[in-house]
Symmetry: C4
């Protein structure tokens, strides 16, 4: 690794390690489930969580560097058992700089029913541009999960996919954006669940969804977008 | 700014910054969503949260001072993307000294169905004087949200409005009172949701609601009111 | 106050202040709602939370000492707005050494429907000896709430009553026992809610409830009872 | 106790004490309910939580050492009131090195209805190999609970059993594995509850469940398995 890449990798180890705290802060993960990765910009490399390490014990040093076929390039431990899915996404979607996976409860409940989350909230229109879609059932261990993520999200506004009977994968221009999408996906899934459990939520007109999404992504694109 | 106003602004920067901690403590907000503002008493100024800054990074210095048309008067960052709505409320309702906005989940679930929260709890009668009303659907980016808040809350006992498909806005004589209303709104929305989900809650007689509200607002007006 | 009583009061100020932390730890209270009190053994005195003080700011010194008619004997602030109800219980039930009041969400949801919590859990049989009963609707400001608590709990196994459309009051031999009952009441109310929301929970035979209650209260009476 | 056993016991006191923090971190327990134990490898001894001690006050020193009939061998306090059930499991299942008991809410809600948790999630297939089964109703105080656990889990893939109207018992090769099973049991119980409450979740084909379970237990058996 040349010194410039080494510096990038070193900074991303720190970033990826710290972003995992958002997964526990928002109760998106139990035990050692869930993982965040980041592409090393301009390189065929990614930084990802190690497998089976407690969240309290994650540090920059424990992160694992892999190539985009999931082979370990730097790091003592095994990479996340979901590394193949992350790697597939980076290979297929060059615009993606970060990937997150969780089994967050409300979103995964929609996934267990195989139901997309309809767009009943302006915050969902902002961040997801409409419904949050369902991806196929896929077994771990090959490229099936990666393919399911990519086929569902390619050309879709949503940065989140609910993989059937499994959980959530989110993408973003960088790891922080993917973590934000994972946090907002669970927040939206929860509110939509609560709304639906006492009756039929009101739809938002497609033109209003389009307008909200356009403004949030474009008008606000020049500066921090929310809050 | 003359020294007296500068001192007031300085104190309100601290107050508004710290009140945001109540939004995270009570899980009313995800990521950078949600915001608190305070009117500078006697001035056409307000202090409000900056846009897109992490809750952990909010300090008195990062708060933004705007005039009541939403133009930045002091502060390096952009003000909250909801600044126009806060500003509209301060212009239209001179008795209001604080405004809070959240997408807190249970309250927003009622908003997604377009249903006011009926008054099934004595704590709701105390704080809200009856049902918590629904405001119209409104797009961000102009005065529509502000107008919807003001038209719903003017002459209404409730300091909270559920904006359809969107979230909660609360008002108060100062920022702390508006934060209290936001906390209590979610608490009431949650208990009402839980009560309704297993059957039909019992109504409280209007005369009892009136009596509870009157006592809480007036008899207890001379000293701290609750707990 | 003679020195012995002063020492007792001083210790109870500390105990009562610290027990309030359990109310926030278990999310039983929002904002300044909820309160704990303790009888000063052998005296017509009680130590109770001050009104409208933030949970973070509660200290031994801020607790208020009242006689059993609710008149302040020692302490700078106003006592809890629920002081009259606590005082009534101490006057009517000499075996009671501690009282707790909360609006904890799941328990209050049962209260809003006016439904007692049926005994579907062995933990409920242990602590409550059967169902957790409903008390009457009562307005604050006189003895009505106190009377409702006492008439419901006198001769009943349960140390908790769900006051209709209002919230929970619990009693105990001391303040810690009353806090435990408040924590367990919400825990049982939540599990019973969850169980009931997907079908009909299975009843426990009355003889088994009696056996569990007897063992927990008597066999375990000689030593710490649970866990 | 010979010095080698004393060293083992000392290390297990620390391990068992610290593992209790996971029960509070994941909100699996209220007040002093819930307990973790570990078998002392190669000895007819176990280390278990004391009865009725606050979670904040648990230390290695307060843990109790018992023989496998539940008699105290070392330690000042009384062992957990569930000691007989733990001891029975260790006597009957020599491969078990750790046992955990909780009343975690979502899992206990399934137990109150006497319903096994169907396998709707890949994470459940991984960890539990299919449904999480229901055990019989059993009274505390003899061997009935232990017998119910053993008869349900012997020959079953699941390390967790939902004891009817009571709560969860989990087993593992060591205490940490049993704690993981308790955490995952509540996580799965919650997501299954949420999924079922808005419709009928989709089944996972038995061959896929078998494949997921086999991979998680065997392929990943050589190295940390999850995350």
């Amino acid at each position: 690794m040349n010194p410039d890449v080494a510096r990038q990798v070193s900074a991303l180890r720190e970033t990826v390690s710290r972003l995992h705290r958002e997964l526990t802060r928002y109760d998106l993960v139990a035990w050692t489930a869930g993982n965040v990765s980041a592409r090393v910009p301009g390189q065929d490399l990614m930084v990802i969580k190690p497998s089976g390490v407690d969240y309290d014990d994650l540090t920059a040093d424990t992160m694992v560097v892999c190539d985009l076929n999931g082979n370990v390039v730097d790091g003592g431990g095994s990479p996340s058992s979901d590394t193949a899915a992350h790697a597939y996404v980076y290979r297929a979607m060059p615009e993606v700089g970060g990937v997150v996976h969780t089994h967050s409860g409300y979103a995964t409940a929609w996934a267990a029913r195989g139901e997309a989350i309809p767009c009943w909230l302006t915050a969902q229109a902002d961040e997801f541009g409409g419904e949050i879609p369902i991806g196929p059932f896929a077994l771990i261990g090959g490229d099936d999960i990666g393919k399911g993520i990519v086929s569902t999200l390619s050309g879709h506004r949503s940065p989140a996919v609910l993989m059937r009977n499994h959980g959530v994968f989110t993408i973003g221009k960088d790891a922080r954006a993917a973590v934000k999408a994972a946090v907002m996906c669970e927040d939206v899934a929860r509110t939509a669940h609560l709304a639906r459990s006492l009756g039929q939520p009101l739809p938002i007109a497609q033109a209003d969804i389009d307008s909200l999404y356009d403004r949030y992504q474009n008008v606000y694109g020049q500066r921090p977008a929310s809050g």
